[in-house]
Symmetry: C3
């Protein structure tokens, strides 16, 4: 009986730890983009991941295509600032799905300061004990260039 209790505890801990690992991926995505940290971003995707940013930003299959697109975004924008909202996450064994809102301010080379809002819908897989994104799709609510929006201080100013 002790064994059956322990196996139930193990399953419950595993659910919780999986959720935490996925929360870390969500946060790492935003921080990695903002810090232009390609090495870190490379660790959050499975090799065969699919990344669909929609009509404006395109879709990409496989880690190399994703990282190439990422480098392109860094060229097209002076800076980015992501906030990831409190997510929903559903873990089922070695697979999980989730959704989270994003509020993103970027400085686009063409349009200048721009607010982007929307929702990511995600799929995660655990392979060899490690959780990573297998699929991320962005449902853009709006992309809005903002006027008279000039930083007076901070590393993105001037």
């Amino acid at each position: 009986m002790a064994v059956s209790v322990d196996s139930s505890v193990e399953a419950r801990l595993d659910q919780i730890e999986s959720r935490i690992a996925i929360e870390e991926l969500l946060a790492a995505y935003g921080q990695g983009f903002d810090q232009e940290d390609a090495d870190r971003l490379r660790t959050i995707w499975w090799d065969d991941a699919y990344f669909d940013l929609g009509d404006v930003f395109g879709n990409y299959t496989g880690i190399d295509a994703i990282m190439e697109a990422t480098a392109g975004f860094w060229t097209a924008m002076q800076w980015m600032n992501h906030w990831m909202a409190t997510p929903t996450i559903k873990v089922s064994g070695d697979r999980a799905t989730g959704a989270c809102g994003v509020d993103c301010m970027v400085h686009d080379n063409e349009n200048g300061p721009t607010m982007i809002g929307g929702t990511y819908t995600d799929e995660f897989e655990r392979r060899d004990g490690v959780w990573k994104f297998s699929r991320r799709a962005f449902d853009m609510h709006y992309l809005t260039p903002v006027k008279d929006w000039t930083p007076a201080a901070g590393k993105f100013a001037g």
Copy 2:
């Protein structure tokens, strides 16, 4: 002794899982409003829940009044976009309290694009093993119509 250890582990797991269930409610509230998903929103409130949005948006008692008001907001606004911030949550048995910040952009039919910021103060109850909102009160910090704010892309554009 094994039993007492297990009961302590059970209590600790229950606290953690309760917190996760409540985080899911917080996120579902924002996602449900933005996706105009009445079926989903109906699942997050207890039948006798109280929802107090303050002077501007009114207060509502009971699930039917809440859902009717929700439908009204969807009529009064072209779209909504909620971000729920990292919350505080305190679980005590089958009751819990919490607070979380919200950053909300809406398109109001009268005022156009509008930023709303504030804090929700929440009460949750667990009945038959399920956590739902029993009370949600909104402390509005500001409601600010924004000018020259026109989405250039995204599903809320045009």
Copy 3:
């Protein structure tokens, strides 16, 4: 063998509970600032904590200096509104590190309504079973006064 299993469970629960305690600190920081709740903010810092807000807002060593600076911010700004984004947190025994994005709207007495975005990099310590901030550093991305931004409703209006 039961003992070794239990000790592993204990360690895993402790990791999870530590993460939760730290998430509560992150949220309490934002809520405490916005509600000008000095008593609450005083509980989140160790006596010898270091708080580095960078060039614009200065750096402070020790709880008394931190609380004095906090009172000064409340004098310099009519109001603040913080959202803390989904964080990364790494717990290692009685120490932890973390990072989280912040989206902050303030009403500065000189500049009026101002948007501040950036990332906090944090260190936490557990002493006598309690987690608190031992170090918080802010990497400001931008501080941007916004024009034509006048709340029409909410407690920060008028």
